[in-house]
Assembly symmetry: C2
Homo-oligomer: 322 residues x 2
Amino acid sequence: METVIGTSESNGPVKVRNPHIKSLSVDHLYHIALDTSDIDKLESIFGDVKFVCFGGQPSRMEGFVKYINKELGLDTHGPCPQNYAAGTDRYCVYKAGPVLSVSHGIGIPSLSIVFNEILKLMHYAKCRDVTFFRIGTCGGIGLEPGSVVLTEKAVDGEFSHFYKMFILGKRVERPAIVDESLVQDLEACAREDDEFRTVRGITMCTEDFYECQARLDGAFCDFNEQDKMAFMQTLKENNICNIEMESLGFLALCRHAGIKGAVACVTLLDRLEQDYITVDIPKLKKWQVRAQTLILRYIKKKLGIECGLIPSLVYPQTIWCY
Amino acid sequence: METVIGTSESNGPVKVRNPHIKSLSVDHLYHIALDTSDIDKLESIFGDVKFVCFGGQPSRMEGFVKYINKELGLDTHGPCPQNYAAGTDRYCVYKAGPVLSVSHGIGIPSLSIVFNEILKLMHYAKCRDVTFFRIGTCGGIGLEPGSVVLTEKAVDGEFSHFYKMFILGKRVERPAIVDESLVQDLEACAREDDEFRTVRGITMCTEDFYECQARLDGAFCDFNEQDKMAFMQTLKENNICNIEMESLGFLALCRHAGIKGAVACVTLLDRLEQDYITVDIPKLKKWQVRAQTLILRYIKKKLGIECGLIPSLVYPQTIWCY
């Protein structure tokens, strides 16, 4: 069912919550190998960004930017899109028109670094009304593998929805609260004739892939099948429908930054049935595009609604709008 | 000053602490794109591994394996060493004789996944007497940039030396205790005529690079220069001499696995002086080799002592031993 997205309120200019960076003559965005020595150049390259899509693997984010380029009719870079972070192999940063495609590695600490630096980049480039997405993979709970989960709340391994950290030796907690209107808008991008289901639910965000996700096939395991299944049932009863490793930090960072952010992940297996992925590579690749497709539909809708209003979104190529 | 390393007791065969993996017909080491469908092949490729060296960046670990190949006279792979994890871009795995060189990304969650899978690989390949190292970069506290720090204890942001995680909803704490004899052996690999200092000390392991490390140049900052400096002084008074993002998990995982493990990091800046790295790239590259050099010396010494005893360590090429 096609639904028209309501216009969400603007986020305005991307701000950083740090008064000190004003005093830096040059800011080194060290882990993405960029700096502010030529800030006009940053603005000319990145100033039109409206959507920042993060995902774990560099190759997947390169594939995503090709997909966006093709779908938005912006395929001007040929088969090899430019990696703006090519000066390092820690992360990659690709761009397709108003869409930035960024790899974040695995886990919240890895994600937090590139989040900080991309946020600063968006600020220096004078970007406005930017929405962030994490597009990932996950284990599902009681869902057919290949389903897409939209996170409506992220919790950690003790069912707390706070991203906890120590700053200057003191514990700081930041809530991982989802932008509800954004989740609704994304949900409305699902179609009845999709080959896959799109659901919304609570996401458990863990600190490792094996023990913390109750897997029986890691190098360490002090529990048995029954313990695992009892835990999985507890998750199900608490409306947790998928498990991954970044959503809690991502959503807390988005909220702390005043940025609208959402998480869309495809389930690669049903953890009520198995611990390891058995699906073949071609199907896996097909599934990985599903969450990307949902975000692409949202982006297209937003461009369709707003392309008459924001000059930077008018491209020489025709943008196909709903 | 050259010191002869005492023979540390053997670790014996690499074990996994998980009874369930015996029942797996094929174990998928998913994130390094290997599996156990041909376990004899795994043993023939990896069975002689004695030293596993982890580090953050793929390119650095590729550089390290080239360095090891050259220094051990094993340069049989030419300029492009084989990446055994080439089927994925999450991590890389290179090998030079008895040395495995593995990238771990950034942060404990990222490290923990590859640690689990490499430990299982070593187990399946029937490796014995294996030592693990993390060779990294860090911020120093009151040390000349370019110094090498050997971690004698790792603590988190609240000065606790426990790696904390939630397993089946319950909090589990595992101590990050260093193998003291290994640290002593590594310390003995430093030389009086080295261009750099090698020190031992407590390492603070944080969950992010900016706020948790008291940096004033992230996207978020609620403290000022004075707060930061007061915190840095507290660290100094508590004998913390460097800050990075993996040591706590790495050492706790090593201990939990019954593997001897140590962390050697080079300081890229002095956090009492600055927040961002200003050293030029050639010097940075030179510095990054320093911690690698220390580990290489240890490996050479061990091979020199043991190469007459362990047949798999006798290579066609001459190994230069102390």
